[in-house]
């Protein structure tokens, strides 16, 4: 009797899970696996399931992730709200633990070994931070427009960020900045997004173009602004603040770069922003990546037919640079389709978040969207030479157990919350 009801309930549940989001996730996983297989494929290596190779291992990764997804869907939706801080605390403990005894992978610490299984603590921390932040902003009486609450919210984000940065995992650390979008949605001023972006643009421009053109542009904006807003005292104040702080920043960056940094630091920054070509290091990787993608042309060379990506000219082919294989084998049509698929998924998550009745659910949904978005933007930006090589995976596509598991968990917790949402 009970079990019959349970089954009915579960079948309702399946109907309520957002079909579009699930479909896109499955397509991404399958497409990712095809590309991983392609990087392993060669004339004398055609086995589809070989558990010593990454294509075989990825099948295990996907299976484990799907098992976890099913468990999440069977749990009570209210559980996640309750255990948010606990998950966050566990993640912080894991991060600190890896800091002490973590395994070094590609110059970054952060792996925990469980028998034969490795877990990247930073991935768990992204989930933990998304949950804890959602829990915090949804608590009764909390308002991020209040200074004190805002500081606590920032602390929730910065704690894991700093530990991850300390582990030398710059890529993952940057991803934590994504949570600003959650706070923005819950009432934080847009300036928290605009100012960092402006600072980044100005600093980068100074490094790339030198101090003079930047000062000229700032002065130009000041002059034009003055002519337009002559009458509005408020706008003139804003303008003055902008011109003064932008000039200070310009001068500061220029001075710091030329007089404080040492030669090798300057060289590394120049390589990072693409001003100098690092012949066989990071710059070489980006160039190889662009050659691979560019050689795909309009329609690509076809499944398993890529040559540039076969001989490992591009390192970390199946993780950080998986997009090269897509570009080479499926051309513009395939890469554009992948980009659009991602945009659709992110758009869909925003829609799902907005239809939630509880603040926790919505904030959590924004957290998921933000993390996925940053991963998407940085990973593909890196392959396209638009972003420094910091090494983070493309969710659901790249090879790797930890990222597959944590992104799937993140996604299916949202889908479970959403499915339960329509019950109320």
């Amino acid at each position: 009797m009970n079990s019959a009801i349970g089954q009915r309930k579960n079948s309702y549940l399946l109907e309520r899970v957002d079909f579009i989001a699930v479909a896109i996730v499955f397509i991404l996983m399958a497409f990712g696996w095809m590309n991983i297989y392609s990087t392993e494929y060669s004339d004398d290596q055609k086995k589809i399931i070989d558990f010593s190779l990454s294509n075989g291992k990825q099948i295990i990764n996907i299976s484990i992730a799907m098992g976890v997804a099913v468990i999440i869907l069977l749990l009570s939706a209210r559980l996640f709200d309750t255990i948010s801080y606990f998950v966050y605390a566990v993640a912080i403990v894991l991060l600190l633990y890896t800091l002490v005894s973590g395994k070094v992978v590609h110059a970054a610490k952060g792996w925990i070994q469980f028998g034969g299984f490795q877990l990247q603590a930073a991935e768990v921390a992204k989930l933990g931070a998304a949950m804890a932040l959602a829990k915090f902003v949804s608590t009764h009486g909390i308002d991020v427009r209040k200074v004190k609450d805002r500081m606590i919210a920032f602390a929730i984000i910065l704690l894991p960020l700093l530990i991850v940065l300390f582990q030398n995992d710059t890529g993952s650390a940057i991803v934590f900045f994504a949570f600003v979008f959650v706070l923005y949605r819950e009432g934080l001023s847009i300036l928290y997004i605009v100012i960092p972006v402006l600072i980044a643009i100005i600093s980068l421009s100074v490094l790339l173009l030198g101090i003079l053109p930047v000062i000229e542009v700032i002065a130009g904006i000041g002059l034009v602004g003055f002519l337009i807003f002559r009458r509005s005292k408020r706008m003139l104040t804003f303008l003055a603040i902008f011109v003064i702080s932008a000039s200070c920043l310009t001068g500061g960056v220029s001075y710091g770069f030329n007089h404080v940094f040492k030669d090798y630091q300057r060289e590394r920054i120049n390589i990072l922003i693409g001003k100098e070509v690092d012949k066989q290091g990071a710059g070489y990787n980006v160039r190889q990546s662009l050659i691979a993608i560019g050689s795909g042309g309009a329609t690509g060379k076809g499944f398993l037919k890529g040559t540039q990506t076969k001989y490992r000219f591009v390192p970390k082919q199946s993780t950080d640079f998986i997009f090269c294989t897509v570009g080479e084998e499926y051309g513009f049509i395939g890469s554009a389709a992948l980009v659009l698929l991602y945009i659709t998924l992110l758009y869909r998550i925003i829609i799902i978040s907005e239809r939630q009745k509880f603040t926790f659910n919505r904030a959590y949904g924004y957290g998921v969207a933000s993390v996925l978005f940053f991963h998407f933007a940085i990973n593909i930006g890196m392959a396209l030479g638009l972003f420094p090589v910091v090494g983070i995976p493309l969710p659901f596509v790249s090879y790797g157990g930890s990222s597959m598991l944590s992104f799937t968990a993140m996604m299916f917790i949202l889908l479970k919350l959403d499915a339960a949402n329509s019950e109320y």
Binding site: T307, Y347, A377
Partner: protein
């Protein structure tokens, strides 16, 4: 609500904007810019490593001790191998088929995509034949590299040898790749980062048939290799060779130091080996034989072996006792053939009479120094013997005895100067007195020191109170510049008047004391003999000393294992070395013959080095 709707739209807008950027960028690199697409898909790149020549090692006059020769390795990229005719390639390269297959499996296991060496060091003729038929062997190519070469078969322990990098080396550094060589001992190891230079790389376009099509981007992306820097050592080739000749057929070591600079002029450890047997294809085979040899030819006795210092310690003890006013220059003790510890136990002495400290060094009187040692340990200002012993140890440490001096080759032993804790452990706290440890006073029992420490002690005596860390390398030269190394100088906190007193005593030792048979006419030598009892057979013969007495040029230690008295065996060798270095001639050919004829190791060396022939040499 409206405000929230705006916020949603801003977030969505940012996402779409980024997606749009990506699409435009893709459109550009995949459809518009022809640069990337023209990169024909038939061609692929091969990344070749350019190996820098390893830095040279030179003696103090610029004579080459370690150089390089060019050799060729056949490399394989397993992922690119196609339709391989194993029999043909083995025949062409004259290698055993199973060896080849083993090497191939190893390379395949290391990486399918990175080049690994598969047949090493082929001859230039093989190289020529193979290069002609390279198109038959897809996935293979030949890489030139330089190989180490030791032209003189000299000072193997100081120079060291190379080994192939281990998995651990590859994991812990991003410089080494499988098949690279790395310094594994001696100067080759300690100056690895200086000597190795910096690998370069070139990118070569190859077509589907493994034929070179030219340089990628006309070689613009190539990085030239930076040759390793050369080491200018203080070794004196002639002296080193002479030392090796004298020690042939014996076990032991010689170290000669220029006391004014701390430079090591010669370091001999016998038995030794020809460093060239540890190069090339037979390396691991020969290494196995050497490591199993019971005479331990790979072991550098000069810095790693530990011996009781015997009577050579008396010089240091006299200085410590004088400085702490335990004795004065005129304090005498009477020796009646031994130091009577108890009715049953006497430490014997071959001297008889009443001596002061100077005479007791000259005659090497055990009784005198047993008295000095006990008086030192039992000084009233110390609460107990434990405190006294620790103070004594501290004094020895200031001479570098029982400490690592910091010589610039690896595996330096610390030796052992026991402290109070050591005996507390043995007898229990408060369970021992100066009488229990009296043998330390004559450099016997638990104390053990390395030849290097004793050589440094001789240098301190020569300098009357200071030393410069003993070292091989005086400067490092690259093509552009020479950097002189600055080695630390350390002072011993003892008045120079006491040093002068003990140096006079050491002169007496050679002029008319225990080592008077080794006197060299016209060359004032200061020294001290030692005879170290040991459980392994006859006593070890020891001599430390320096010459000339004023403005010394050379400080020497000689240890010959199980040879007998220091005066009989070690002193002649040491004084011959001094004479050779200072006068470049030998005035006592009968002594030289006596030493050369005295051999007790009669077996053939584990590895016969005469079978090795050298190919073309280039530096």
């Amino acid at each position: 609500m409206n405000e929230n709707g705006n916020r949603t739209r801003v977030v969505q807008g940012i996402i779409i904007l980024v997606g749009f950027f990506f699409l435009v960028r893709l459109l550009y690199i995949q459809l518009i810019d022809k640069d990337y697409r023209q990169f024909a898909s038939d061609n692929s790149l091969r990344k070749e490593t350019i190996f820098p020549p390893r830095g040279l090692i030179l003696d103090r006059n610029g004579v080459l001790l370690a150089g390089n020769e060019t050799i060729y390795d056949v490399m394989v990229i397993p992922a690119k191998v196609k339709d391989l005719d194993t029999n043909a390639i083995c025949k062409l390269l004259d290698v055993d088929k199973t060896d080849f297959e083993d090497a191939y499996d190893k390379a395949d296991y290391y990486s399918k995509y990175k080049p690994s060496p598969i047949v090493r060091e082929i001859t230039p003729e093989q190289y020529g034949r193979f290069e002609e038929r390279l198109f038959e062997f897809r996935g293979f190519f030949v890489q030139a590299r330089t190989m180490r070469y030791y032209p003189l078969d000299v000072a193997p322990h100081a120079i060291g040898y190379l080994g192939e990098v281990t998995d651990n080396d590859i994991d812990t550094s991003d410089y080494y790749k499988m098949g690279d060589y790395i310094g594994a001992s001696g100067l080759e190891k300690s100056y690895e980062k200086v000597l190795r230079g910096k690998k370069g790389g070139r990118l070569i376009l190859v077509d589907a048939l493994n034929r070179e099509q030219g340089r990628y981007m006309d070689g613009k992306g190539d990085i030239p290799a930076e040759p390793g820097a050369s080491l200018n050592t203080g070794l004196d080739l002639k002296l080193q060779q002479y030392g090796e000749k004298l020690m042939r057929g014996k076990k032991g070591s010689i170290i000669c130091i220029d006391p004014q600079t701390g430079e090591i002029l010669a370091m001999v450890s016998m038995p030794d080996y020809d460093p060239n047997v540890l190069l090339g294809r037979d390396r691991s085979h020969n290494y196995g034989k050497l490591i199993l040899d019971p005479d331990k030819p790979l072991f550098n006795r000069a810095i790693s072996a530990r011996y009781p210092p015997g009577s050579t310690l008396k010089t240091v003890e006299a200085l410590l006792a004088l400085q702490q006013h335990v004795i004065t220059k005129t304090t005498t003790y009477t020796c009646t053939g031994g130091y009577h510890l108890s009715a049953a136990h006497t430490i014997h002495c071959h001297a008889d009479g009443t001596f002061n400290a100077r005479e007791a060094i000259k005659m090497s009187c055990n009784t005198y120094y047993c008295n000095v040692f006990r008086t030192f340990i039992d000084q009233r200002r110390f609460g107990n013997a434990a405190e006294g012993l620790d103070n004594w140890k501290e004094g020895l440490s200031s001479f570098g005895l029982g400490t690592k001096l910091g010589i610039d080759i690896p595996n330096e032993a610390r030796g052992l100067v026991p402290n109070a804790k050591f005996y507390n452990h043995y007898y229990g706290v408060g369970g021992w007195k100066s009488s229990n440890v009296i043998s330390l006073g004559i450099g016997q029992a638990e104390i053990s020191l390395t030849p290097l420490q004793l050589a440094n002690q001789a240098a301190i005596m020569a300098n009357r109170g200071y030393y410069i860390t003993p070292h091989f390398v005086r400067s490092i030269s690259t093509k552009e510049k020479t950097i002189t190394l600055n080695w630390p100088k350390k002072y011993i906190n003892i008045d120079s008047t006491y040093f002068n007193y003990v140096v006079d005593a050491m002169e007496d030792v050679v002029e008319h004391g225990t080592a008077s048979l080794s006197k060299v006419p016209g060359m004032p030598i200061c020294g001290k003999t030692g005879t170290a009892e040991n459980p392994h057979g006859k006593d070890h013969a020891i001599f430390i000393g320096f010459a000339p007495k004023y403005k010394p040029k050379i400080a020497v230690v000689v240890i010959i294992e199980n040879a007998g008295f220091g005066a009989e065996w070690a002193a002649p060798v040491a004084t011959l070395m001094m004479e050779k270095y200072i006068k470049d001639s030998i005035s006592r050919p009968n002594w030289e013959k006596w030493i050369l004829d005295a051999t007790y190791l009669h077996k053939k060396p584990a590895v016969d080095s005469t079978s090795i022939k050298y190919k073309g040499v280039d530096e």
